[in-house]
Amino acid sequence: MIDVKRRVFLKGSAAAGAVVAAAGAGLIAPQAVLAEWNEAAFRSKTVADAIKAQTGTDATEESADIKIKAPEIAENGAVVPVSVSSSIAGVTAISILAASNPSPMVASFALGESTVADVSTRIKMGKTGDVIALVQAGDKVYTAKKEVKVTIGGCGG
């Protein structure tokens, strides 16, 4: 369906600044590279499948150099503020997954050369679970996680 490896290669080279050259050579237009939505990753039902689809590998390494900012307790699972930053050198992509969601992959950010590895968004979480940050740098994939408890409303139906 989707050529994962090719996609990873293109993203990697975009970050390395090679895409301009490729585009210049008439191989591919930068916009087309960037406009591709990783359907396989977003439709994956498990964290493992999503990571594989996103990065092309399942060899990940936990890293203390990734910081996830997310509430311990989310007041409302519909709006959970999440920030991910990393001090790892040469980050090309950051992804945010919500492990308990039916489709865990929520967001992924492909970063340019000058882009700081620090992104924020707000995500939906159906229930309590880990927020997983996936950081790609070079050919390595690093992860970190933080549990977010999603509140259960008290008033009943």
Partner: protein, 123 residues
Amino acid sequence: MRKPAKLTAIAASFAAVLAVSLVPVSSMAEGAKETIAMGKKVAYDRKLGNCLACHMMDDGVSPGDLGPPLVAMKTRFPDPAKLRAQLEDPMAANANTMMPPFGKHNILTDDQLDAVIEYLYTL
């Protein structure tokens, strides 16, 4: 689903008198278990008892803290009639209580109350 549960609830509360004639003795333990299971379900259901909104109890996740933890219920309510009254109309005992009148305002049916009481006594 509901009907047999109701039956067992009734059977349990009148066990001594009626059960012998209604239910074969061998299935008594089964019946009581079912009642307790139904009671737990009613107690946990957010649209029914919703007890976890205010009380820590059993294996309930993320309970509230408006009411006391539901533990040692036999010690706290040796008299089942008192526990029943507390569920029916808690304001009778404490005018400032936050606890809803589960019986008086028909939040739960009689059978549901019976089952919840059976369940509470297991805590």
